[in-house]
């Protein structure tokens, strides 16, 4: 068991190394001279050259990459070109809203999508199945910010049930925090729900045609315990895999959702960084999100063992 976990953990190392190399190369080939930016408009060419040497920007690629990786391993993502603050500090200030949004969306989407998929598979071919699958095609087709504006317009502006925009930290109470996240979470979760519901239905259909399901029916087990105890448990591995892969959708979508709902999180920081061409900051954010994504999928690899005792390699 520990060798399995160890092997999974080790397998993420080359992936993370390639991500780091790729992200570093992006900064290396980025147009514009960071030294000139830091020196300002008034600086003479000699000053720019001096700054470049003091920053170590004149050294070869491999030397800089090694040094950068060494700093990265010590938790140093560099300094923002625009604000002069450490990138880790900037990310730390903005991480709470984004993580809150993603966790709430994840929970909400799984709770909504899995029963939808199970129902659709149980009543396969019925109007309910068709309706749910039609909704999932629509979910794949409507961009997250369109859903966001529709929800904000109806439930916040017209009906006035929920706040339009903004974010309240969790420290100020659970309900004020959640209230601001309901609409963004539904908007962000839309495509995610479609994805999970589809894969749940597909795997459930496969499992429901197995012999042991017929046996369970024959011995008179209730439909509910057949569906949720026997079938869903055996369909869990592909579903959990897709939940992990779909986190990429959540990360990409969070950037846009935060912009629609004026949530001061990492998405807003990303957009600001792009507008200002603050490359170290962009680099840090992309690295952070990619490592988060790799770690989520590592966690899911380990969860497999609990779900399916056959997985032991």
């Amino acid at each position: 068991m520990f060798s399995y976990i160890l092997r999974r953990v080790l397998a993420t190392v080359p992936v993370m190394a390639i991500v780091a190399l790729f992200v570093f190369s992006l900064l290396y080939i980025a147009p514009g001279d960071p030294a000139a930016v830091i020196a300002g408009d008034q600086a003479s060419p000699e000053d720019v050259e001096k700054i470049r040497r003091s920053l170590g920007l004149d050294r070869p690629f491999l030397v800089r990459f090694t040094e950068w990786t060494w700093q990265l391993l010590h938790g140093d993502l560099g300094t923002s070109m625009f604000t002069g603050l450490p990138v880790t500090e900037l990310i730390g200030q903005r991480i709470e809203p984004t993580l809150s949004l993603m966790v709430v969306t994840l929970l909400f989407a799984v709770v909504a999508a899995v029963p939808m998929g199970v129902l659709a598979a149980w009543k396969v071919g019925s109007w309910l199945d068709r309706l749910l699958m039609a909704l999932s095609v629509i979910g794949f087709s409507v961009p997250v910010f369109v859903v966001g504006y529709l929800l904000a317009y109806w439930f916040a502006l017209v009906l006035d049930w929920l706040p339009v925009q903004g974010y309240t930290p969790l420290a100020k109470g659970f309900w004020p925090w959640l209230e601001n996240l309901i609409l963004p979470a539904i908007a962000l979760g839309f495509v995610y729900i479609a994805l999970i519901a589809r894969i749940t239905r597909a795997t459930m259909l496969e499992v429901l045609s197995q012999d042991y399901i017929r046996t369970a029916r024959a011995k008179g087990l209730g439909e509910r315990s057949i569906l949720f105890l026997h079938a869903l448990k055996n369909a869990a591995v592909p579903i959990v895999t897709v939940i992990g892969i779909g986190v990429a959708l959540l990360i990409g979508g969070a950037v846009v959702t935060e912009s629609v709902f004026a949530i001061p999180g990492l998405g807003r920081l990303t957009i600001d960084a792009i507008v200002r061409r603050d490359y170290p900051l962009i680099q840090g954010i992309v690295l952070m999100f990619s490592f988060l994504y790799v770690l989520v999928n590592l966690a899911i690899d380990i969860v497999y063992m609990a779900l399916d005792p056959r997985i032991r390699y």
């Binding site: 095609v137 496969e206 990360i251």
Partner: protein
């Protein structure tokens, strides 16, 4: 004789008689041609007709009573939809109806270009990776690395490095989509090269390039076509997202994402600025996805049952 008849009569009295069969059964209608196609694949037909309509709109945008989509008219800004401005005007007085129709050009161009480019490059990488075991490990580790950067984030980052232009948007989204395509092609190739007919071809002395060309390549077309359709839809969504957050097509070009970005600050008072491009974008992507589902069902009947 009479006895058996009476038994039959009794039986007839007890059991309801079967309805009489008509002399000639109604002929089974085999539908051919366009009608038959629509009958067999209704979702694909619906998707294709909507898409055809959008292509018409994009190509013949000047004929649909549009005006110059970039013409500023500050005196007429943020007009509600009316007989003069069918979809209203934006904050610079530009006619949203014209902008939305011209915007179809950008979205469709980006969608098709990314689908074709990503398929071709992904096909090449997948073929090499699936057939040359020595390179497989390296290529797939690189793809794993690229795949662990969320695609929208990767596209945003690439756009931050370059100037905003339609070509760069196409390139950025293509790079973000390539890993998935090459994974798919590699999987297909790996399962195909175990097939007996590939062994037979090798035994008959067929050269490796010929095996790839004749035996492997044709079998990747079906899954690749389905995947390309989905990529087309997702590329249109990513383009609109990039433009919406200001990292996509240059603001001067009327794309659906740009029109919505222009309406962002005014959405609470003038929601129609966002509403019309949103409807066009969603319906177009929906049409492409319906086509993808239809293609998948038509090309791979096993998948049709599963998904």
């Amino acid at each position: 004789m009479t006895a058996s008849l009476s038994v039959a009569a009794q039986a007839a009295a007890h059991y309801p008689a079967a309805p009489e069969l008509p002399d000639i059964l109604p002929p089974v209608r085999i539908r051919r041609g366009l009608v038959g196609f629509m009958w067999r694949h209704p979702t694909m037909a619906l998707g294709m007709s909507i898409l055809a309509l959008m292509v018409c709109i994009a190509v013949f945008a000047p004929l649909f009573w549009t005006v110059d989509p970039t013409a500023l008219a500050l005196a007429k800004r943020t007009r509600e939809p009316s007989a003069e401005f069918w979809f209203g005007t934006d904050a610079f007085g530009r006619d949203i109806y014209s902008r939305v129709l011209y915007g179809a050009r950008i979205s469709l161009l980006v969608g098709f270009a990314v689908a074709v480019l990503a398929s071709l490059v992904g096909l090449a990488i997948g073929l090499v990776s699936g057939y040359m075991r020595a390179l497989d490990g390296v290529i797939m580790r690189v793809m794993d690395g690229l795949m662990s950067i969320p695609p929208i984030l990767l596209a945003i980052t690439l756009m931050a490095l370059t100037r905003a232009s339609v070509q760069n948007v196409i390139l950025a989204i293509t790079i973000a989509e390539i890993p998935r395509v090459s994974r798919l092609v590699r999987g297909v190739v790996l399962s195909l090269r175990e097939q007996p007919y590939v062994d037979a071809a090798i035994a008959a002395g067929t050269t490796t390039p010929m095996i790839i060309l004749r035996h492997i390549l044709p079998n990747t077309v079906a899954p690749l076509t389905v995947q390309a359709t989905y990529i087309c839809g997702s590329a249109m969504i990513i383009e609109s997202i990039l433009s919406f957050i200001g990292a996509g097509t240059p603001p001067i070009i009327p794309s659906w994402g740009n029109i919505m970005a222009d309406g962002r600050t005014l959405w609470q008072v003038k929601p129609y600025i966002i509403f019309f491009p949103a409807i066009f974008l969603s319906v177009t992507v929906l049409a492409v996805n319906l086509m993808g589902d239809g293609l998948r069902d038509a090309l791979d009947p096993r998948m049709a049952k599963r998904l």
